[in-house]
C-alpha cells in the first residue's frame, strides 16, 4: 500500500505537469488535441490522488505503524470516527487531502461547466493542474505522507485530544473545501484573462463557484468557532488568532466580490475590480495556508513548524507576480460599459460596502503581520492580540452592518429624496426605538448598544423588503401572505436569500455583543459546597459540586465532576465536566490530561463549567464557572446564514439578463439590466 501510495503521488505529479503544459499550450495555440488532453489530465489527476488517499486511509485503518504519519497521528485504540479524520490531522496528510479535493473540484468544473463556457476549460484545467502539482510537489519533495520509519512501534502516539471532537472532524474539511474551491473561480479568471474573453461570460461561470467557496468557508469558520468554544475551554469562540484571521481574509474578499459582481451584472461596471478581488481572494487562501504551515507566526492552530513554509512563500510570490502581471496587460480590455449616475444609489452603497470589507481585510492582515514587521524594522517582538483587533475592527464591522441595512433601501442608479424618506422611515424609527428601549433598560455599553440598534435597523429593513414584496404579490396575484413570502423566495432566490444572509449577520453581531456581558468566577468546592454567580440579566446561578467519579473509556481515563445548577433557587440541570488522560492500547499516557467543558446552552445564556483540577488528589475541586450571554444565537445565526446562502445558490429561481448572455442561462434576482439613462 505504501509503495502504491508513493507511486500514485509521483504519477499525479507527472499528470499535473502534463495537464498544466498541455492546457496552456493547447489554449494558446487553439489545438483541440492538447486541449482535450489537458481536460483528461484533470480526471486522471483526481484518479491518481484518490489512489494515494485510499492507500493512506488503508494504512491508517490497518494500523500500519511502519508509516511515520500513521504512527504520529493514530493509535490502535483511536475510535473509528477519528481514524477517518486522521487523514488531515497532520501536515502531510492534509496536503494530500488538499490536492485531492482540488483535483475533485477541477473535475467538477470540467463536467459542470456549460457548453457556452467551454472555451475557458483548457486554461481552467491548466491552472487547477498546476496548483495541484504544487501541492503534490510539496509532498513528494518535503512532506511525504508515505514516509517509512526505521522501526515499527507497537502502537502509535494517537491523535491530539483536542482534535478528538466531532467539530474537528467537520471543521477542517469544510474550511479546506472553502479554501480549495476558490481555485476554481481563480482559474476561470485566469482563463478569461488569457483567452481575452472578458465579457460577462466568465462572470456567470465564476459567480456560482465563488458562492460555493464562500458557503463552505462560512461553514468551516462557524464549525471552527463552535469547536474552539466547546473544546478549548476558554469560554469564547474567536480570539483573532493568526490562523483564524487567515481563514477570515478570503471570506471577506469573497463577500466583497459577491456584492460588487451585481454592479457588473447590472451596469457592466467594476470589471477590473471584480477580477482583482477574485485573484486576491485566491492569493489570500494560499497566504493562509502559508501562515498555517510555516510556523512564521505563533498560533495554537498551526501545524508543526517545518520547511514547507518556504515552498508556500515561493509559490505565493510567483503566483502573485504572474497573476497580476497578466491582469495588468489586460486592463485596456476591462473598461466599464457605464458610469455611475448618482452618489446616492445602490451602486455607490455597494462600493462603500466593498471599501469596508476590503478595509477590514486589510486591517486584519496588517494586525496579523505587524509583529513580523515590528521585529524586522525595530528588532522588537510585540504581540498583537484581541485588544488591538477589537479596537480597530469593531467600528468597521458595525459600519459594515449598518450598510447591510442601508444598501437594500437605496434605489439602483439614482435615489430621490421622497424615495429615501419612504424607504428609511420604518427602519430608522425601529432603530430609534431599539436604542431607547435598551437605554431605559440601563444598558451603557456603547459597542453593544450600537450592535443592537444597527441590528434592529437591519431586521426592520429586511422585514420591510419582504412585506412590500409580499404585498405586491398579494395585489397582483391574490396570494395569501405566507404563500406570497414563499413565492418571493422561490422566484427571486438571489435577492431574498441575500436578505436572509443579512438577517443572519445582524444576529451574529448582536450575539457577538452579548459577550460584553460575560461573567465568570473561579471557586474551590468540596462535594456539597456551592458557588454563586450573577448573570448580566440579574439572575443568580448557584453551582453545587456533587462529586468526582473516575472510570476508563475506550482510549482514555476519565475524571468527571458533576455540578448541579440552580437559577434563583430553581434547579435548571446538571453539568458534567471532565479531565481526560488519553492512553494508547498498552495503557501508556499519550498526551497531557485534557479538559472537557460542561455546557448548558440556552436562548439567553450559556452556562459553562470547567474542571481545572483537584486539590491534593481529593474530591475537592477547582472550577471555573462562566455565564456567556447569547452564544446560542451565534450558532443559530450561522445556521440562518447557511440557509440564506443555500437559497441564493439553489439553481433556478429567476434569471438576470446580462448584456450578451441569455437570461435563462444565469441565475439571479434581477430581471432587467439597467442601461445608462442617456442610451
Amino acid at each position: 500500500m505504501i509503495l502504491l501510495g508513493n507511486l500514485a503521488l509521483w504519477l499525479a505529479f507527472l499528470i499535473g505537469l502534463w495537464g498544466g503544459i498541455t492546457g496552456f499550450v493547447g489554449g494558446a495555440q487553439g489545438r483541440p488535441d492538447l486541449q482535450q488532453s489537458a481536460r483528461h489530465a484533470s480526471f486522471a489527476l483526481f484518479g491518481a490522488l484518490l489512489v494515494a488517499v485510499i492507500s493512506l486511509e488503508l494504512a491508517i485503518f490497518r494500523h500500519d505503524f511502519s508509516l511515520e504519519y500513521v504512527a504520529a497521528y493514530t493509535s490502535r485504540n483511536l475510535p473509528t470516527f477519528y481514524l477517518w479524520s486522521a487523514l488531515y490531522a497532520g501536515q502531510k496528510g492534509s496536503l494530500l487531502f488538499w490536492a485531492t479535493v482540488l483535483s475533485l473540484f477541477a473535475c467538477l468544473a470540467q463536467v459542470m461547466t456549460g457548453r457556452r463556457h467551454r472555451m475557458y476549460l483548457p486554461y481552467v484545467a491548466a491552472v487547477t493542474c498546476l496548483v495541484a502539482t504544487f501541492f503534490i510537489s510539496v509532498m513528494v519533495f518535503a512532506a511525504n505522507p508515505f514516509e517509512r520509519l526505521n522501526f515499527v512501534p507497537l502502537d502509535g502516539r494517537g491523535m491530539n485530544p483536542q482534535l478528538q471532537n466531532p467539530g474537528m472532524v467537520f471543521h477542517p474539511p469544510m474550511l479546506y473545501l472553502g479554501y480549495i474551491s476558490i481555485t476554481i473561480p481563480f482559474a476561470f479568471a485566469i482563463a478569461a484573462l488569457l483567452s481575452k474573453k472578458l465579457d460577462a461570460e466568465w462572470l456567470v461561470a465564476v459567480r456560482k463557484w465563488t458562492l460555493v467557496s464562500w458557503l463552505f468557508l462560512s461553514i468551516g469558520l462557524l464549525i471552527g468557532m463552535w469547536w474552539a468554544y466547546v473544546e478549548l475551554g476558554w469560554g469564547g469562540y474567536w480570539a483573532w488568532d493568526p490562523v483564524e484571521n487567515a481563514a477570515l481574509l478570503p471570506w471577506l474578499v469573497m463577500t466583497a466580490f459577491l456584492h460588487s459582481v451585481m454592479i457588473q451584472e447590472k451596469r457592466g461596471m467594476l470589471k477590473k475590480w471584480n477580477l482583482a478581488l477574485i485573484i486576491g481572494a485566491w492569493l489570500l487562501s494560499i497566504f493562509g495556508t502559508f501562515i498555517t504551515r510555516s510556523g512564521v507566526i505563533a498560533s495554537v492552530h498551526s501545524f508543526t513548524q517545518s520547511n514547507v513554509g518556504y515552498f508556500f512563500l515561493a509559490f505565493l510570490v510567483l503566483a502573485a507576480v504572474s497573476s497580476f502581471t497578466l491582469y495588468a496587460t489586460r486592463l485596456p480590455l476591462l473598461e466599464a460599459e457605464a458610469r455611475l449616475e448618482s452618489m446616492v444609489s445602490r451602486e455607490a452603497s455597494f462600493l462603500f460596502n466593498n471599501l469596508l470589507l476590503i478595509g477590514i481585510a486589510f486591517s486584519v492582515l496588517w494586525g496579523t503581520l505587524f509583529p513580523i514587521l515590528s521585529e524586522a524594522i525595530r528588532g522588537t517582538k510585540i504581540t498583537v492580540g484581541p485588544p488591538f483587533f477589537n479596537q480597530v475592527n469593531v467600528p468597521l464591522g458595525l459600519s459594515l452592518l449598518a450598510l447591510t441595512g442601508i444598501g437594500p433601501l437605496i434605489a439602483w442608479r439614482r435615489a430621490s429624496v421622497p424615495n429615501l424618506r419612504r424607504q428609511f422611515a420604518v427602519p430608522a424609527t425601529t432603530a430609534v426605538f431599539v436604542v431607547l428601549i435598551f437605554l431605559v433598560a440601563g444598558m451603557r455599553d456603547f459597542g453593544a448598544l450600537m450592535a443592537l440598534t444597527i441590528g434592529g435597523f437591519v431586521f426592520a429593513t429586511v422585514i420591510q423588503e419582504f412585506a412590500r414584496g409580499a404585498r405586491a404579490r398579494h395585489r397582483q396575484y391574490g396570494e395569501p401572505t405566507a404563500l406570497a413570502v414563499v413565492q418571493l423566495l422561490a422566484r427571486n432566490r438571489r435577492r431574498y436569500g441575500g436578505y436572509i444572509v443579512h438577517v443572519a449577520m445582524a444576529m451574529l453581531f448582536i450575539a457577538f455583543a452579548g459577550m460584553s456581558f460575560k461573567t465568570e468566577t473561579e471557586a474551590t468546592l468540596k462535594p456539597g459546597e456551592s458557588a454563586t454567580l450573577r448573570s448580566a440579566d440579574g439572575h443568580v446561578y448557584t453551582f453545587t459540586h456533587l462529586g468526582i467519579s473516575q472510570y476508563n473509556a475506550l482510549n482514555r481515563q476519565v475524571t468527571a465532576a458533576l455540578v448541579e445548577v440552580h437559577r434563583d433557587g430553581k434547579a435548571v440541570g446538571r453539568l458534567r465536566t471532565e479531565k481526560r488522560q488519553h492512553v494508547d492500547a498498552l495503557g501508556r499516557p499519550t498526551f497531557e490530561p485534557s479538559t472537557e467543558v460542561g455546557i448548558q446552552s440556552g436562548l439567553r445564556v450559556d452556562l459553562y463549567v470547567v474542571l481545572a483540577g483537584l486539590v491534593n488528589g481529593t474530591e475537592q475541586a477547582v472550577f471555573r464557572f462562566t455565564i456567556n450571554p447569547l452564544v446560542w444565537w451565534v450558532w443559530f445565526g450561522g445556521f440562518v446564514l447557511v440557509i440564506g446562502g443555500l437559497i441564493v445558490l439553489w439553481p433556478g429561481g429567476g434569471a438576470v439578463a446580462i448584456k450578451g448572455v441569455p437570461a435563462a442561462r444565469t441565475q439571479a434576482g434581477y430581471t432587467v439590466k439597467l442601461e445608462p439613462a442617456g442610451r
Binding site: 478549548l232 476558554w234 469560554g235 480570539a239 495554537v300 458610469r339 455611475l340 448618482s342 452618489m343 462603500f352 471599501l355 478595509g359 486591517s363 494586525g367 515590528s374 524594522i377 525595530r378 522588537t380 517582538k381 510585540i382 504581540t383 498583537v384 492580540g385 484581541p386 485588544p387 488591538f388 479596537q391 480597530v392 439602483w412 439614482r414 473561579e522 471557586a523 474551590t524 468540596k526 462535594p527 456539597g528 459546597e529 468526582i548 473516575q550 481515563q557 476519565v558 479531565k579 488522560q581 497531557e592 490530561p593 470547567v610 481545572a612 483540577g613 483537584l614 486539590v615 491534593n616 488528589g617 481529593t618 474530591e619 475537592q620 475541586a621 477547582v622 445608462p676 439613462a677 442617456g678
Partner: protein, 184 residues
C-alpha cells in the same frame, strides 16, 4: 517478612486515614489523582479579584500559547508558566503596585511582547493608525472617483420621459415620478 510488611502497611494506612479524617471529613481521596492532571491549589479571593484579572488580561503568557495570563491560567491547566506569572502579578499587587506599575514591571522584565496589544507610541502607532488612514484615504479616493463619474454621466431620464410623452401635463409627470419612486 510478609507479616511485618503488612503490619507496617496497615499502620501507615491507619495513620493516613486518621490524618485525612482530622483534616477533612467531606473530601475523599480519588482513586487515581494522576489522571486528573496537575494538582491545583485552592482559589483565593485575590484570584477572583477583578483588578488582578484586568491586569492579567493585558499581559501575555510566555509559554507561547498567544493567550493572556488570565485566559491561559484558567484554560490551559497543563501550562506551568501562567500560574507562575499569576503569582508574580499577585505579589506585585500585594507590594502595593498599581495596575500600570505591574504592567510596566512586566514590560521591563519581558519586553513589549509581554503586552497583549502594543503600547500606542513610536512605530506602534503605525500598527494602530495605518488601517484607519488607508481606509480613509481609499474612501476619499472613492468619493472623488464617484463624483467624477457622476459628473460625466448625462442628465437623468426625466427629459427622455418628457420627450416620450409630449402630451403629458406637469401634474401627470409629477405623478409618474412619484409612482416611479415607489417602485424603486
Amino acid at each position: 517478612m510478609i507479616e511485618r510488611v503488612n503490619r507496617r502497611g496497615f499502620l501507615v494506612m491507619a495513620a493516613a486515614a486518621v490524618g485525612a479524617a482530622l483534616q477533612d471529613t467531606t473530601s475523599a481521596r480519588v482513586y487515581d489523582p494522576e489522571r486528573a492532571g496537575r494538582a491545583q491549589t485552592p482559589i483565593t479571593a485575590a484570584d477572583n479579584d477583578p483588578g488582578i484579572q484586568a491586569v492579567e488580561k493585558k499581559l501575555r503568557c510566555t509559554c507561547g500559547c498567544g493567550l493572556d495570563i488570565y485566559t491561559c491560567r484558567t484554560t490551559d491547566f497543563t501550562c506551568t508558566y501562567s500560574p507562575a506569572l499569576h503569582k508574580q502579578v499577585m505579589q506585585l499587587a500585594k507590594d502595593g503596585k498599581s495596575a500600570q506599575q505591574i504592567i510596566d514591571a512586566f514590560v521591563g522584565q519581558y519586553g513589549e511582547a509581554a503586552l497583549m496589544a502594543p503600547p500606542k507610541r513610536g512605530f506602534n502607532l503605525a500598527g494602530y493608525f495605518v488601517p484607519s488612514i488607508v481606509i480613509l484615504a481609499a474612501a476619499a479616493v472613492l468619493v472623488k472617483v464617484l463624483r467624477r463619474w457622476t459628473a460625466e454621466t448625462p442628465a437623468p431620464a426625466v427629459s427622455n420621459a418628457a420627450r416620450a410623452m409630449p402630451d403629458a401635463s406637469p401634474e401627470e409627470l409629477e405623478r409618474l415620478q412619484r409612482e416611479l419612486d415607489k417602485l424603486r
